[in-house]
């Protein structure tokens, strides 16, 4: 029996789909931030070491959206190490995150962020 993809997509609850996603990072020390791939992101601002604002090209309905993220740093020295990705401040059009090790901002070669919500 053939599967009709368009039917499957239409049956999917829109809230199950990511509204925003981005893959970015500071590829190596001494380089600027690179956005490798993104969706519904107009830009990403680096405010400080491990401090980034994701500027959305859409407007979320409220601040109850869910941001999930992961990251890795020290890919050259240690293969890959994880730092905490924490939402810092959220508006309906921006999401500022911190990537920390302990209490210290940690520059990351790759930060992956996904946002779900209304």
């Amino acid at each position: 029996m053939a599967i009709n993809l368009s039917t499957l997509v239409n049956q999917t609850n829109p809230l199950q789909l990511a509204k925003v996603w981005a893959n970015f990072g500071v590829v190596s020390p001494g380089t600027t931030l690179t956005i490798r791939s993104s969706y519904s992101v107009s830009s990403i601002t680096r405010n400080g070491t491990g401090d980034y604002t994701i500027n959305l090209s859409i407007t979320m309905a409220d601040l109850n959206y869910v941001m999930v993220g992961s990251n890795s740093y020290n890919q050259t020295t240690y293969g890959s190490s994880a730092a905490i990705v924490a939402p810092y401040t959220k508006t309906t059009t921006t999401c500022r995150i911190l990537t920390n090790v302990g209490n210290n901002g940690q520059e990351s070669q790759e930060v992956d962020v996904v946002i779900f919500g209304n």
Binding site: G30, T32, G48, E107
Partner: protein, 144 residues
């Protein structure tokens, strides 16, 4: 030549805004950045060792450069954090009856040398080099 947007943020540091592939930089300048932000070629931003002191960058006119006094302070904070964390680690090893790879007296000399190195540095490369022996000693003491 890729372009980015720079401005001085509320903490006095420089923010660097990178447009996504789906955006036009002039629209991003209006939508995502405060008044006074400017578009620059990314090649004009501090590079090499200077780039590692991002929190010490300053925007003067249309030029971004490192404030060396801030960079020294930044590197002192990095050293202090390393020393604080390693002091705890060394104490735990001592209490556990495990010898530290670097003796206490040598460790103090390394830290003092690093502090002196930071204070007498005249370039960001020297600031980075000043704490390398301390980091190496920490790595050696962490090795199983």
């Amino acid at each position: 030549m890729s372009q980015v947007i720079v401005y001085t943020n509320s903490t006095g540091n420089v923010s660097v805004c990178t447009p996504s592939n789906e955006s036009d930089i002039n629209q991003v300048l209006i939508k995502d950045c405060p008044v006074g932000a400017i578009i620059v070629d990314s090649s004009t931003l501090p590079s090499g060792a200077d780039a590692q002191f991002f929190n010490s960058w300053e925007l003067n006119g249309s030029s971004v450069s490192v404030n060396f006094t801030k960079a020294q302070s930044q590197q002192t904070s990095v050293l202090n954090k390393l020393v604080y964390d390693e002091s705890g680690h060394r104490a735990v090893k001592t209490l556990s009856g495990v010898s530290n790879v670097i003796s206490d007296s040598d460790w103090k000399i390394l830290v003092t040398n690093a502090q002196f190195g930071i204070a007498t540095s005249s370039t960001t490369a020297e600031l980075i080099a000043a704490i390398v022996p301390v980091q190496a000693a920490i790595d050696a003491n962490s090795a199983i």
